[in-house]
């Protein structure tokens, strides 16, 4: 009873997509303030896990339980999870022609505020917030005026994801291969942005294929996901081990 409540508790999670069982019994607990990394080969189910957490209806949870701040997520739709404080930075952010980034962000910020019973931000306060947050990821003004992710480079899309996360201030940030497609400078900027958001009441699930990102966003725990299961957990040194040995041995063991 003395223990503080976990931010996220995943118990024996099984999930399928398009009729295929992808997640096969995942257990994971993230406490406030912790950064957990999930590493795994392509196709192991990393994006599936992030989509199941975010509430994508194309993914079906077939067994197990997900508790967010002690509350079962089953009955919450994606937007309700976002309002509750779950943020997914996508591996492949979606382009939305015709909706400007600013208009979109204002709608998002005010939707989240409204769900908390707060007044919507007016134009001035919203701009102040943008000014404050855009520095974190060095996002250019012209990207704010452009349609959401439309014609953005890979790196600009990823920065935009972190910018949105900074604007929405979630409790749990899920970063799905945010490092893919980033050069070293962009990787540093994005990592600095994430590190600035670290705090005692916020947790992160950092999904990556490569160890490199974890030099910048140093995790408290590392988990190895292979074929829909966490096959090993450890501290940050586990990432280096994987970097040297690769996933091959794990893949082998699964057969």
């Amino acid at each position: 009873m003395e223990k503080t409540m976990a931010l996220l508790e995943i118990k024996n999670l099984h999930a399928s997509v398009a009729g295929n069982q992808i997640l096969k019994g995942i257990n994971l607990t993230i406490n406030p303030g912790e950064v957990h990394a999930i590493m795994g080969p392509n196709g192991s189910g990393k994006s599936t896990l992030s989509n199941v957490l975010a509430g994508n209806e194309a993914y079906e949870k077939t067994q197990g339980e997900i508790l967010f701040q002690g509350k079962n997520l089953d009955d919450l739709a994606a937007h309700e999870r976002a309002c509750a404080g779950i943020f997914l930075a996508f591996q492949y952010p979606v382009e939305i022609p015709g909706i400007s980034n600013m208009y979109f962000l204002k709608a998002a910020v005010n939707a989240v505020r409204e769900s908390r019973g707060e007044e919507p931000l007016d134009a001035m306060d919203f701009l102040d917030l943008v000014e404050e947050k855009k520095k974190m990821v060095q996002i250019r003004d012209d990207l704010l005026e452009r349609a959401v992710n439309s014609g953005f480079s890979g790196g600009e899309k990823k920065r935009n994801e972190i910018f949105q996360m900074a604007m929405l201030e979630p409790r749990l940030g899920i970063l799905d291969e945010t490092d893919s497609g980033l050069d070293i400078d962009a990787l540093r900027i994005v990592s600095d942005g994430v590190n600035a958001l670290r705090g005692s009441d916020r947790g992160f699930l950092v999904i990556t294929h490569y160890q490199r990102l974890l030099d910048y966003i140093v995790p408290d725990f590392v988990h190895v996901l292979v074929n829909g299961q966490i096959v090993k957990s450890g501290g940050k040194e586990l990432a280096l081990e994987l970097e040297n040995e690769g996933y091959a041995s794990w893949n082998g063991e699964q057969q």
Partner: protein
């Protein structure tokens, strides 16, 4: 042939031939038998409908097919501008563009009882938009309205037409537009007819050298309707713009038939039509561009994009390019798609509920057409009507 003779001929043709059937090529997807089978009255009564004019406009109100001088505001027209009832201005050009080319035009030519007449003299810039409001609330009536618009050389004008009514009636309008050399006419239409009404409109425009004619149609109403929009580029360097947005639900059926005739060299035409359809709505878009042999250096662009929000909704889109000149630039594209589920999910993961998300996405789709509207008060008005409609179908 003078107008009286033309009207007699039109009555004879219409009586003899009646309405088109779906066996005719141009009416293949449009069953107008509900109009053909209905019986309409020629009664008249004043309208009880409320209306609101666009800010700063010259308002002209037709109630149940008749010009209302009391409700209109035509007291202080600028010099060189004449606006009134077509019955008071027997211009010899009336009937020269539209006579009997379809049953609907013939019926109108034979039976029109009133209509708007506008003449803007050479060199006169009419900055104030003219807001033409048709109020219809006479159950079972047919309204044959005949409009005539003449914009002189180096002159300009903006016309906004609004159609609104209840419950059951048939609006059948024909508009003839002449835009002289270097003249400019921007015409906007917002069609908010009753959901059980019929709305048919034929527009014939003839453009002089370096003249600009733009037509923007926002369609929300009527159970069965059709726009026939025909622009003839008859002088070098002319430009015709035909844009439209149709938002349909229930069992609405709406057709758009464009015909742009490039008769001389160095003219441009642009057409952007977009549709959003829900439930069992059906739209037809037929965009014909004719580039005659002489019309070298023609630049013609046509695009028709449709968004279907339900499985029952349907669109037939038929671009038709006929090109007889060799030095031309002509492109066209047509698409029929669904709401982008990935985009909707993306918005949702940022806290935006699916109802608002759908309204945002459909709004973005519609905005491309609305952004082309140059008349600011009409743009604001159309945006508000469109937003209300989109929020309604998102629920």
């Amino acid at each position: 042939m003078n107008l009286a003779e033309l009207r007699k001929k039109a009555e004879m043709e219409f009586s003899a031939n009646g309405f088109p059937t779906t066996r005719e090529e141009l009416w293949r997807f449009s069953d107008v038998s509900p109009v053909a089978n209905a019986v309409f009255s020629n009664d008249w009564k004043p309208s009880e409908l409320e209306f609101q004019s666009l800010e700063g406009s010259l308002v002209v109100v037709f109630e149940n097919g008749k010009l209302s001088r009391e409700k209109s505001n035509l007291g202080n027209l600028p010099e060189g501008v004449r606006i009134g009832s077509i019955l008071d201005f027997p211009d010899p050009r009336i009937g020269s563009l539209a006579g009997t080319q379809s049953a609907f035009v013939a019926a109108n030519t034979a039976r029109f009882s009133d209509g708007l007449w506008i003449e803007v003299d050479d060199g006169v810039q009419l900055e104030t938009p003219i807001h033409l409001i048709h109020l219809a609330d006479l159950d079972g009536a047919a309204f044959h309205l005949r409009n005539f618009i003449s914009v002189g050389e180096n002159a300009s004008a903006t016309l906004v037409e609004e159609y609104v009514g209840e419950p059951f009636y048939w609006t059948n309008t024909v508009t003839e537009c002449f835009v002289a050399d270097r003249g400019l006419l921007d015409r906007y239409k917002i069609q908010r007819e009753s959901p059980s009404a019929f709305h048919f409109q034929t527009l014939e425009a003839r453009l002089g050298a370096e003249a600009v004619f733009s037509n923007h149609a926002v369609t929300l109403g009527s159970r069965l309707g059709r726009d026939d929009i025909r622009a003839k580029l008859a002088g070098r360097g002319g430009e015709a713009i035909c844009n439209g947005l149709y938002l349909l639900n229930g069992k609405q059926h709406f057709d758009t038939h464009l015909f742009v005739d490039h008769a001389v060299p160095e003219c441009n035409s642009h057409e952007l039509y977009k549709g959003i359809l829900d439930e069992k709505a059906h739209a037809v878009f037929c965009g014909r561009i004719l580039v005659r042999q002489d019309a070298q250096q023609t630049d013609a662009v046509q695009s028709n994009r449709n968004l279907l929000l339900s499985r029952g909704a349907k669109v037939n889109t038929l671009p038709q390019l006929e090109i007889y000149a060799d030095d031309v630039k002509c492109t066209h594209g047509a698409t029929i798609g669904e709401l982008d589920e990935q985009a909707l999910y993306y918005l949702q993961t940022r806290g935006i509920d699916p109802v608002q998300g759908q309204a945002m996405l459909t709004g973005a789709f519609a905005n491309e057409v609305l952004d082309e509207i140059r008349c600011a008060p009409f743009k604001a008005y159309a945006e508000e009507r469109v937003r209300t409609w989109l929020e309604g179908v998102a629920k």
